[in-house]
Point group: C2
Chain length 431, copies 2
């Protein structure tokens, strides 16, 4: 049998024994066995993976070269599984579509326009299924399959659904997907094409979550909602590892991250803590800036009130489907990271995020999700207020491609209907 040649493995790496890990509650610190298929702690809060990092770390007294501190990275891989040593499973067991290792762009033209001298964008639209959700679902589906799950379920505002459908297909598992009935067509079509069972709900992601919670036991579904299992965050944290590596093991002055469920932000914060424990970076952290839509801003409200958790946000609405999360389960973790880093939570309107998304595309050739546009709009506000400075090294995360949000952009760029065929859903009639 020939070896798997999916990636050119030019360099031989030192095989590091896979490190041990355990599961611990993010709130009450209860410990759990990592070999069970688990959702939440008994106290209702999320479980997080804790690694025995001592096996990989460089001690301060060693004379080892810095290169040894990162020897556990499989640099021959052009995907996030280069960090398998700090993930719960070997790359050889991964359900992978080559996710991660996304490009980090220096935004010269947009930076000039906004008066930000050192502006960068990490483009998560370049993942399988065109969003960063691929990272988390790759790890979560890998672990679910390994721990014996056969049927997976998810409530999703859009992109997580597409990612679950893709990775479930790649893994040979069933996927049961609940989405609001106004999800972008991209997500609907992806999920159907990948062979998932798709149920559209007249409601929000929270309604979808409630329905799954009610039915899953009877149906035998394992639920993969944000932070209701511990492994999606492990995939998302690799965004932090990559940023540090691509910036040559430094961190920027500020990171702007679109905050729906906020698990990408929490994941990166975890990654930075692990990198420090590994002796790769020091204690300096970027200001973590969570960006929300003004039409759904529970975190902004909580931040401004000095609260530790947020309230359910009523009548949530925004074209940025990924930000339409009225009460994120990880709210207390997001607020903790934002405050510890002296960051902020900022809201922008749909109009502002779409304007900024258009500028980003015109200036840089990057067609971002509204969530990415939201970060650009937030950046402009924070530069205007002086919270961020012209000379700061700033990194924006674009969490998905604009191709997942054609409806949102279509209102900005109307197309004259020359025939009936330009309506989505109709076959093009031959001439």
């Amino acid at each position: 049998m020939h070896p798997d040649l999916s990636y050119c493995e030019a360099a031989k790496i030192e095989k590091v024994s896979h490190i041990r890990y355990s599961l611990r509650c993010s709130s009450c610190s209860c410990a759990y066995s990592s070999s069970d298929l688990l959702n939440l702690c008994e106290c209702g809060k999320p479980l997080l993976v804790e690694y025995d990092l001592a096996a990989l770390s460089r001690s301060a007294s060693d004379d080892e070269k810095f290169e040894d501190a990162v020897r556990w990275i499989d640099a021959a891989r052009s995907d996030m599984w280069r960090y398998a040593a700090v993930l719960p499973v070997d790359a050889s067991e991964a359900v992978t579509l080559g996710e991660g290792w996304t490009p980090l762009f220096h935004l010269r033209r947009l930076g000039f326009r906004l008066k930000a001298a050192d502006l960068w964008l990490k483009d998560e639209g370049r993942n399988p299924t065109d969003s960063f959700k691929a990272r988390g679902l790759s790890v979560a589906v890998t672990m679910a399959r390994k721990l014996g799950a056969k049927k997976l379920a998810i409530p999703s505002a859009g992109n997580a659904a597409s990612a679950l459908a893709a990775y479930a297909a790649a893994a040979g598992l069933e996927a049961h997907i609940f989405m609001p009935d106004d999800v972008p067509q991209s997500n609907f079509i992806e999920c159907k094409a990948y062979g998932a069972q798709v149920i559209l709900i007249n409601g929000l992601i929270s309604d979808c979550g409630r329905i799954i919670a009610e039915r899953k036991q009877r149906e035998g579904w394992f639920e993969l909602s944000t932070l209701k299992e511990p492994y999606r965050i492990e995939g998302k944290k690799t965004m932090g590892y990559e940023l540090a590596e691509q910036l040559k093991w430094t961190l920027p002055d500020a990171i702007l991250y679109p905050c729906g469920g906020g698990v990408g932000l929490i994941g990166m914060w975890k990654a930075f803590a692990e990198l420090e424990a590994l002796g790769v970076i020091g204690s300096k952290r970027p200001r973590m800036i969570a960006v929300q839509a003004s039409g759904c801003e529970p975190m902004t409200v909580a931040f401004e009130r000095g609260a530790e958790e947020c309230e359910y946000f009523n009548d949530a609405y925004t074209v940025a489907s990924g930000l339409r999360v009225p009460k994120p389960l990880g709210d207390f973790l997001i607020l903790r990271a934002v405050r510890e880093s002296e960051g902020a939570v900022v809201s922008v309107s749909d109009e502002e995020m779409m304007d900024s998304g258009a500028l980003l595309a015109q200036d840089e050739g990057i067609f971002a999700a509204p969530e990415g546009g939201a970060c650009v709009a937030a950046l402009a506000k924070l530069l205007a207020s002086g919270f961020l400075k012209f000379s700061d090294r700033i990194v924006i995360y674009n969490t998905g491609s604009g191709l997942k949000y054609l409806e949102a952009y279509s209102s900005r760029f109307p197309r004259t209907a020359s025939r009936e065929q330009d309506k989505l859903g109709g076959l093009i009639t031959p001439r």
Copy 2:
């Protein structure tokens, strides 16, 4: 000033002086200066880039290790500019969005279904703008800018338009884009978002090309139509370099490639020839199989007739927009490569390509363009006929993501309209 940190450049590479090249007609062998902004040869046929490969090649009598034969590859780059030494310009001058170095997947489940034991797919949907067109337009826009062009124009069935718009934006150049008025919404929105001037024509790509030819001189546009300038093919050829590298410098028994303009196929054929001249591979070649849509099959007809060129195909129609090319300019080059490799040209129906696209998504978690589905359908036919064997190593190219073709997939996966908002173009009304 800090260096461009867009990619982690962990390895220092031996700096190879950029090799010389010239332009030569593919038909009459006339030579041209490479420092002029050129379209076609005076005889009307395409110009191709010829490199002075001796500077890079390994001679048969050397005792050099094989690694030296590929020392000119910048292995630290996770994009196609790792091959800059055999491209017309240094990576430092490139207008790049990190295109290329796409994943090569081993299709175990689909291979089992089709009885193909060694089946692989190279997923070009993973490029900027979600199609392989990014490769060619990256090089072409780079060269156009370098040689002084300010305004670029293209006729396109869809994905080339999106790619030109993106790279023109990244380069700070104007883009003038002519597309049939039934192009997928994805392409229309991308081009508008990237700031291009977009003109929709009631006609086919050939009509769009005619209009540009008529207006370009007056408007001062440089035209970037397929094979009407010599550099798009240089970007596309990197698909061949990558395949060889990812298969550890071997080539498969067969390659199935969706053939609209066919420049990807011609480009790969050129890459293989260059790799042989460089002493990296031998003379063995894969069977090159061009896949067409039965609704637009000028190449299939020409192949079956034993012709050296094809006739204009009347009433061309297919949901695979990239295959709707009634008379490819490079027809004689495609047929030459197919015949020299003992390959074939095969047509499949729209129904077959969409069925196969759905199977690919369900079995492997890869959501392909109809063009990719067409290759799967063609493979099934060639296995059934015995032209390809169960044990053959076969590589399929998926040239774009299914996300660029939501209309085509929407007819297969209809969505019940619960409200007016599911029609593309309308804003979602807040609840």
